[in-house]
Every structure is written in C-alpha cells, then in structure tokens.
C-alpha cells in the first residue's frame, strides 16, 4: 500500500543530480510551484513500473500509438478538460458542482441526435450532434453564471441546483435508457485516432493550449485572478466582475460538454445515470493538487493538467495492481491523502522537524557531497 510514496522518496534522489549543474537552476526548480505535483506524478508512474515492467513501453500498431502512458492520456483527457474549466471557476473564488451533470447531458443530447438521424455516420450528423451539445452547454453555463454573477447566489448553491436537476434532465433525454449509437465519425472524438495520436488527447491538448494562450496573452487571466483574489478591490478598480464570472461559468460548462462528448463517444453510448458521475469531485481535486487555491486568485493551468494526470494514473494503477474492487475507493482515498500531505508545506515542515536535526543534517550533507562529486565528474 505504501509503496508509491515510499518510492517517491527514493526516486527523488537520482533526480537531483540531473539539475545540479548550476546551483541557481536547482534553487529555482526547488521553489517552482509545479515541483511537487510533478514529483508525485513521476513517483506514481515509477511505482507502476515496478509492478508492470512494460509500463513505459509505447508501440505503434496500424499507425496508432499504444501503451499504458497513452491510455492514461486518453482516458484522462475528459478529466483534464473538466478540471480546466473548474480551474477558471475556482480562480474566481467559485466552484461548479454541475459539471458531472453537464457531461451526462452533452453525451445524451449528442447520442440522441445521432440515433434519431437517418445517416448516423455522416459528418453532418456528427457536427450537428456536437453543435447541439455545445449549444445547450452554453445555456447551462449561462444559468450558472447568471445565478452567481447577477443574483449573487453562492456558487456552491447555484451549481448544486443544476448538479441535481441536470442528472434528471439527462435521464429525460435518454428516457431512462442507455442509448447506443454506431457512428464512426462520432467515435473519433473519444475513441479514434488522428495522425497516430488518440484524437481525444489532441483535442484536450489543443483546448489547454488555447486556454493558456487566451488567459495569459489577453488580460483575462489577470482580471480573473484579481476578482478572485480580492472581489471588493476588484470592484473599486472598475473590473466588470459580472461579465467575467458569467464567461467563466460558460467556459466551464463548455469544457464539461466536450468531456461528455468524449466519454460517450468512447463507449458509443449515452448513460444519463452514470456518465460523468463524481467527475466534479475528481476535477476539484485535480485543481487543488495542481496548486490553485479554493480561495481563488492565482491559478495554474499546468498544475491542473498535472493534477488530472495524477488522478488518472491513480485510477490506472488501481486496475494494473489488481486492487480488489471493494477496496478501490479506499485505496484511492489513501493515496490522495498522502499526495495532499506531501504537498502541504505545513506537514513537510512538521515532518522535517520531528525527524530531528541530526537525521536531516546527515542526509543533507550526503546530498551535498553527492552533488559535489557530480560537479567534479
């Protein structure tokens, strides 16, 4: 059980000399806020390698990439998208609990559209399905945004409404059934390949890149961080918070809808009951692991992607380790607790203090000696 975190301690050391060329680089690296999420992800991956020897193998078959790492990316793509939207919402000091329902609604609408059309395979049908799903997602996002920004409802309450109602809406759309569709075009979104890569991975990567570009190249990122960091000061500085908040909730719903398309497309069916169930919680967790505080303000898209990958790797690990199904959730929770503790500066300070000075000093000097030798070599 404790293997992954234990390994992280051991694997952290060989990593150090690689950055030990100039001390300044190492110092900057140590202070970087993505350091801990990166180390945790690395530790999880290496932990898997210990149990599954071909874990890092990637092979090309029929012009498609295969391998465990590719699987993690592909199955993680929906979570990355949902967490991306969630990051923006959380940066404004909000939260969006309705993303899971939006995932279900988007999948149900798209499948319903395709199942009801005469030619399910045609590009027109698939594009129509995507358009319907995204269009409705905009409306859902507007509902959340207006409740929060215009009516001043607390985000957790405002989005709870749609979280509960949305599941019902998804079931109404599918008539309580699981709609199965056969459409090659639709399958591409979540399960297909393009230029040897899984299409879902490319799509998620493109959305992340576009979001990073827009938030950091325009002033959107700065204004969102201001509104989230200090709403009162933001108002007095003349920021149009209402517009920003609405925009952010619409963006979050759109991300969730695309994730919903991916999920339903991958299994070629829509399940109003279970699609995207609890994904809001995984997304919030991914955001927090990635270093964006729930109190709003500064956000980190890179951190969120790492956080989502950590969670997805964890899910994969559960399967590859063969953890019995009834203990899966407990195992996951345990690792998440460890991950959070490792990232907590308070906890790290306490641990290093408790371990006592002599111990830390000895490892410290050992490290330093190792580094010196490295430099000399």
């Amino acid at each position: 059980m404790t293997n992954p975190p234990d390994r992280s301690a051991r694997t952290g050391r060989p990593g150090a000399p690689t950055g030990a060329v100039p001390g300044a680089v190492l110092k900057r690296l140590a202070g970087h806020r993505l350091l801990w999420p990166s180390l945790v992800l690395l530790a999880l991956l290496l932990g898997n390698l210990a149990f599954t020897h071909d874990f890092f193998d990637i092979r090309v078959q029929d012009g498609h990439l295969y391998g465990s790492l590719i699987d993690i990316l592909q199955f993680g793509a929906p979570l990355i998208l949902v967490a991306l939207g969630m990051t923006m919402v959380i940066a404004t000091r909000g939260i969006d609990l309705s993303v899971g329902s939006t995932v279900a609604i988007a999948g149900a609408l798209a499948c319903e559209h395709i199942a009801g059309s005469a030619d399910p395979g045609s590009a027109g049908t698939v594009l129509g399905a995507v358009a319907v799903a995204l269009g409705v997602a905009v409306v859902l996002g507007l509902c959340n945004g207006l409740l929060v920004a215009r009516l001043g409802v607390q985000p957790i309450v405002a989005t709870l409404i749609l979280m509960v109602a949305g599941r019902g809406v998804a079931q109404l759309i599918t008539d309580g059934q699981i709609i199965t569709v056969r459409s090659e075009g639709y399958h591409l979104i979540g399960g297909g390949y393009w230029l040897t890569f899984p299409f879902a991975v490319l799509l998620a990567g493109a959305v992340v890149a576009l979001t990073a570009f827009v938030t950091r190249r325009s002033a959107l990122g700065l204004l969102i961080e201001s509104v989230g960091g200090n709403p009162a000061a933001g108002r007095l500085a003349g920021i149009r918070a209402a517009g920003l908040l609405t925009l952010v909730y619409v963006f979050c719903a759109l991300c969730a809808a695309v994730a919903g398309l991916m999920i339903s497309s991958n299994v070629q069916s829509a399940d109003g009951n279970n699609a995207g169930l609890w994904i809001e919680l995984d997304a919030i967790l991914a955001v927090v692991i990635g270093g964006t505080a729930l109190t709003g303000g500064r956000f980190s898209l890179g951190g969120t992607v790492l956080g989502a990958l950590i969670i997805q790797t964890l899910s994969t690990t559960v399967y590859t380790l063969g953890v019995p199904p009834q203990t899966t959730l407990v195992f996951k929770a345990f690792v998440v607790v460890v991950v959070c503790l490792v990232q907590s500066p308070v906890f790290r300070a306490k641990m290093s203090r408790r371990r006592g000075r002599p111990h830390t000093r000895s490892t410290g000097t050992a490290d330093a000696v190792g580094r010196q030798q490295e430099v000399r070599a």
Binding site: R217, S218, A219, L220, L222, L223, E225, S226, G229, N230, A232, A233, G234, R235, L236, A237, G238, I239, R240, L244, G297, R298
Partner: protein, 519 residues
C-alpha cells in the same frame, strides 16, 4: 551596533530585559526586510518602535510574535531562548499583540471576542453567563461602556480596536505589542488608551508601541528604538531626543519642507475656486450614511473633507465614485449629468478613488507590483485589449521611480510591501488612468512621516497640473495644509464649506464641527 549611548545603563543593569532580540534577519522573496536588528524590552516600560514605511517595523513585530520565523538571530524571553512557531506559542509565553488592522470576528459578540479561546466553562460546556459577566468586568475596569452581547461589527473601528486591546490585556501579557493602535482613534479614545497603557506599565508590563504620531511617542514612551531600511538605527531614551532629531534618525537627514505647501495652498485658494466646476454634486445623498449635500469641485482644486470619525466623510466621498450608490441627487461632470451607478462608470468619467481600507478594498496581495499598478487601466480597457508586457513593465518602472516605491522590483508580491509602499502602488494604479478627479480617503493613515510628506507633495503637484483632488483625512493639520477649500461634516451632514485662507485654523474647524455651524 547595538551599543546605545544611553545614560540609563544602570537601570538596565538591574533588571533583565523581559524580551531581547539580537541579530534578527528576515528575507522575503525579493525583499530583505530585516538585517541584524536588535530590540530590548524591559518590564514596566513603554518602548516606541519607530521608522519609516518599509523600515521593517511590522516585520520585526511579526517575528517577535511568532507570525514569521526569523531566518537568523536569537530571541530571549526572560533570559531563556525562545522561538515561536505560531502566534499562540508567543501568547503562551506572555507576548500579546494588537495589530493595526483589527483581527477579531465582527460577527461574534463583544464578549465572545474578548474571551474566545479562554471561555469560562462549567461541566465542560461554555458558561455563557460567566463569559458575559467576565467581559463586562473587564470593560468596566477600563472605563468602557459597551453592550457585551452586541456584535462587534456593529461598533466603529475605534471601539473594535479598544476591544482588541482589552482582549490582549486579558491574556495577561508580560509583553504587549501595540501596532499603530491609535491610527483610527479620536482624541478621547487615544486618551483612554493611554491611561490604560500607563496602568499596565505600572503593573510591570513591557509595552512595545508602534505609531507614526511623534507627539504620542513623547507623551507616552520611555525609550525608542529606531529602524531604517531594515537595519537598527539606534536605541534612545526619550530624554535625549527631540521631535526633530527623532525624525532625522528615522529618515536619515533632510527634513521635509512642508510649510511651503501650506503657503501655496493659502495663496491660491481663491483663484482655484473660480470658473466652471469640473464635478458638481447636487443633493447627493444616501439614506443612513450621508444626508444630501452639494459640492462643486474645480479642476486643479484640492477639497478637504474634515469631520470626526463616523461623521460621514468617507461615505460622502464614496458616493462620488459610485462605490456606494446614491439614492438621491445628481452628479454632473463638465456640466453634463452622469450616472455613477458603479465604480466602473465613475472610472469612465475619469474619477479615481483610493479607499481607506487599503487591504480589503485596495490592493491585491497575491499579485505583483506590476499587476497591481496596471489593473485599473486594464480593467477600463477590458480583457480583450491587453496592455503589452513591455508597456506594462515600462509603466511600472516609471511609477516605481516617480513614487520611490520600495522594493523597486516590479515582480515583488504586493503583500510583502510595507503599508506606505502599498499605498503608493495604489496611487500609481489610479494615476496611470490620468484621472480628472482623484478621491483619496485617508491616504496617509498608518504610514510614516517620510511617505506622508511625499504623498502630500504629490497631491499638491497633481492639483497644480490641473487634477481635482478630494482629500479625506482625520488629521486636520494635513487637511488644512493641502486644501484650497474645506468641507466640514458633522453627524452625516455637510455643515460648512470654507475657503481655506489664513482665517481658517484647526480651532475654527473644530468649532464648526462642535457647533455644526461656521462661527
């Protein structure tokens, strides 16, 4: 370095300092806040900690009280080495603090605030009757007449401050740290506080007193430690200092010549008021905060708003920015009626506003100096029209230089700056928008003489360049020094508007406040 030329040496020889810090060093990202600072506190003394903004006073206090850990240096409490991991440990060691900003819970009652964490218990449950009784006793001891069951938030900032001090005193402190306790108190309240401080001193408590009011230092303190730029400047007994030498120690030489400002203001008072007003308020008011008032503001004119704490000064100013929306009246800019429904509308009419609550309504602590400075301009442009990074850096560099913001590092996090430097960043943010009317609410509160003089000079210069300034301050001298006209408020009503010529004195203003009419 620490060797003070004190004639009080025999005194210190007898009694061991209750708190002794030596060689304290504290580094923040991009800022070396303290560098080899020392401080000694003896039982039964009131010790002033003085220095300009950014000299390191707040940081030193936070190190002494366990908020920050020092990077280097030793801390002796009663001669024993002590380091505090958190404020609670410092409190248990007998060091209590009352900060500049009241750190209590406004939603809890006065009694709960005083005794929170130390509630009297009965059968393991909180004995609420005893809580109220004990709180009432403590308040009566200190001549405070308050309803202990009323929520703390329903009282003025001044009263909240006194409650915070009562709480700190009840923690039975060996050392009481008062960080700018008087910056929001009126004269009577200051007197009340001082009598309390003296009583505590006579009981043997060591009191560290941080203030920017020089006269209060000479009135209350026995010994002074002066910091400059994060270093120890020296330790002095009050007898060997005069106000002038103290200021010289603090700012290291040249004394600000503020008298000129005052002369200028008086000479130009009449001519600035002539002509068409830039901004005109007619019957502008808001129920419960300020009664309808008329005010004409001319380009290049400084209007001071004078009045006691809670007289409606701040409220009147906020209406002109749309920070609170008016429910009666009309504002015109250049003769055209405008609607100031929100700050954004005011900004569009080139009106700018620096709130008195710098921390909660002004700065973004998490963001950098650069981001804080460009924010208002960026907000006015909207997110789709970003200011390029190169332009941002150029603007930031220019304003850091113009206002002497320290540290001069555009990427320093704002929360690591001293209060005065945060205020300057806030000013820079608004000056960047080239306002025609600049509303400053208590811009010099809680900042030191040096920065205060700089800000006053800046106001005079802005007015000379044609900016209208509405200047709100609790300090009458400051208002009279800068203003061409003074509007006096009393009980939420604007009772008089005086042209600031030689006949206007602090006494005349006070009389106006007292009687509600200009005599």
């Amino acid at each position: 370095m620490t060797a003070p030329p004190t004639p009080a040496a025999p005194d210190t020889g007898e009694r061991r300092p209750v708190l002794e810090a030596t060689g304290i060093r504290k580094q923040f990202p991009g800022v070396l806040a303290l560098d080899g600072v020392a401080l000694r506190l003896h039982p039964g003394e009131v010790h002033a900690l003085m220095g300009e903004n950014g000299a390191g006073k707040s940081t030193l206090i936070k190190v002494l009280t366990g908020v920050h850990a020092a990077d280097e240096g030793t801390l002796l409490v009663d001669g024993r080495p002590g380091t505090f991991a958190d404020p609670l440990q410092a409190q248990q060691a007998g060091i209590s603090t009352v900060y500049q900003e009241v750190n209590l819970c406004p939603n809890l009652s006065v009694a709960e605030n005083i005794l929170i964490g130390r509630e009297p218990r009965r059968f393991g449950l909180v004995d609420w009757k005893a809580v109220k009784r004990r709180a009432a006793e403590l308040l009566t001891e200190l001549d405070l007449d308050l309803d202990v069951s009323s929520p703390l938030g329903s009282h003025s900032l001044a009263v909240q401050q006194l409650v915070a001090i009562v709480r700190a005193v009840d923690v039975s402190a060996k050392v009481l740290v008062l960080d700018e306790p008087t910056s929001s108190l009126d004269r009577d309240e200051v007197a009340q506080l001082f009598s309390l401080v003296r009583r505590l001193r006579d009981r043997g408590v060591a009191i560290l007193f941080v203030t920017h009011f020089l006269d209060q230092v000479f009135e209350l303190c026995d010994r002074v430690t002066v910091l400059r730029n994060g270093r120890l400047e020296g330790e002095y007994t009050i007898g060997e200092l005069t106000p002038v030498t103290l200021v010289q120690h603090m700012i290291g030489g040249e004394l600000a010549t503020l008298e000129e400002l005052s002369e200028q203001a008086h000479e130009e008072a009449a001519e600035r008021v002539a002509g068409e007003p830039l901004v005109q308020a007619r019957a502008l008011g808001r129920k419960g905060s300020v009664e309808p008032y008329d005010l004409d503001i001319h380009a290049g004119e400084v209007i001071g708003l004078a009045g006691l704490l809670g007289s409606g000064r701040t409220e009147a100013a906020r209406l002109l920015f749309g920070a609170d929306s008016a429910d009666t009246g009309q504002v015109t800019v250049d003769g055209k009626a405008v609607s100031l429904r929100s700050p954004r509308h005011a900004v569009a009419h080139k009106i700018a506003f620096c709130s008195e609550n710098r921390k909660t309504e002004g700065v973004f602590g998490e963001l950098t100096i650069r981001e804080n400075i460009v924010l208002a301009l960026q907000a006015a442009r909207g997110w789709t029209r970003p200011i390029s990074r190169a332009k941002q850096e150029e603007l930031t560099r220019r304003w850091i230089e113009a206002l002497d913001i320290r540290p001069a590092n555009p990427e320093a996090q704002l929360r690591n700056l001293s209060g005065g430097n945060q205020q300057k960043v806030l000013l820079a943010r608004w000056l960047l928008t080239e306002p025609r009317l600049l509303i400053l609410d208590e811009p010099t509160r809680g900042i030191d003489v040096g920065a205060k003089a700089e800000i006053q000079k800046l106001v005079a210069r802005l007015a000379a360049d044609g900016t209208a300034v509405l200047f709100v301050s609790a300090e009458l001298e400051e208002v009279l020094r800068l203003s061409h006209r003074v509007a006096v408020l009393r009980d939420h009503r604007m009772v008089a508007t005086l042209v600031n010529d030689d006949s206007v004195t602090p006494d005349r203003i006070l009389a106006t406040i007292a009687t509600g009419a200009d005599s």
